[in-house]
């Protein structure tokens, strides 16, 4: 069986490298690269939250209003929501077999993550510009 079909196979499948899922390794790779980016970003965030005194509003906006911490927070939120959204997608695809529910949940996941990431980024930008 396999041999009778092999004559129809061209080197194109190796050139495209998309595999049986037709999506290639993009999702897998994106999840790993965002994980890699989150290692230093998370370390910075945890270290900051643990060491800084952020009880008051003034302390918080002074910290986040600084261009460096503002930049790192924007990066953290964007990358974290992208990474989280990719992970939840896999969980939904693995456990929800009903195709209608699965697709709806995937769309809700994407919308929510874009909404929250944008809300976070806009909030940080507002804090940065207001503290000028």
């Amino acid at each position: 069986m396999v041999d009778s079909f092999s004559q129809f196979r061209s080197p194109l499948r190796h050139a495209k490298g998309m595999g049986s899922a037709k999506e290639g390794t993009h999702h897998w790779l994106a999840q790993r690269i965002t994980a890699l980016a989150l290692l230093p970003l998370t370390s910075w965030l945890v270290f900051s939250l643990a060491t800084l005194s952020l009880e008051g509003h003034l302390e918080f906006v002074t910290w986040l209003g600084h261009p460096i911490s503002g930049t790192l927070m924007i990066l953290f939120l964007s990358v974290a929501f992208h990474h989280g959204q990719l992970g939840i997608q896999v969980v939904i695809e693995d456990y929800i077999s009903n195709i209608k529910i699965r697709r709806s949940l995937l769309i809700v996941t994407k919308f929510m993550s874009y909404l929250l990431a944008t809300l976070g980024v806009v909030s940080v930008l507002r804090i940065i510009f207001e503290s000028l």
């Binding site: 005194s53 509003h57 989280g84 809300l119 804090i127």
Partner: protein, 129 residues
């Protein structure tokens, strides 16, 4: 297709999961709960962007004793997901696949996440730095 009502292998309710399998499903559970944690962080930043009153209100909720407990839970989940994630990255480049190294890494992941959580809370609560 009619689905027959008979137990499916491996009988998750009675099957004693090996430690590696427990840690694997924990990676997923902590990952999903951490997106809730990042959502909470986003709302915190959002409240600060709105103004002092909103920030104080949100901090009040966050500093409520249940809030502190939730924060502690998120920190455990974070460090576990971080440490186990590093292990996954090593697996992804083809390292440490054999059983002995995997079991060693199981304990390394658990040990380092406990140490990191303890360390961060000591620093946070005692103002060591």
């Amino acid at each position: 297709m009619k689905i027959p009502h008979r137990p499916l292998s491996p009988h998750l309710q009675v099957y004693n999961l090996p430690l590696t399998a427990l840690l694997s499903i924990s990676h997923r559970i902590t990952g999903v709960s951490l997106t809730l944690g990042v959502t909470l962080l986003t709302l915190w930043v959002f409240s600060a962007a709105l103004g002092e009153e909103e920030y104080n209100l949100f901090s009040l909720v966050l500093n409520f004793w249940l809030g502190k407990l939730v924060l502690f839970g998120f920190s455990v989940a974070l460090f576990y997901h971080l440490c186990n994630g590093i292990r996954h990255l090593f697996w992804d480049i083809g390292m440490n696949f054999d059983l002995r190294k995997t079991m060693l890494a199981d304990f390394a992941v658990l040990f380092s996440s406990i140490i990191l959580t303890t360390l961060v809370w000591l620093v946070a609560l005692m103002d060591l730095i």
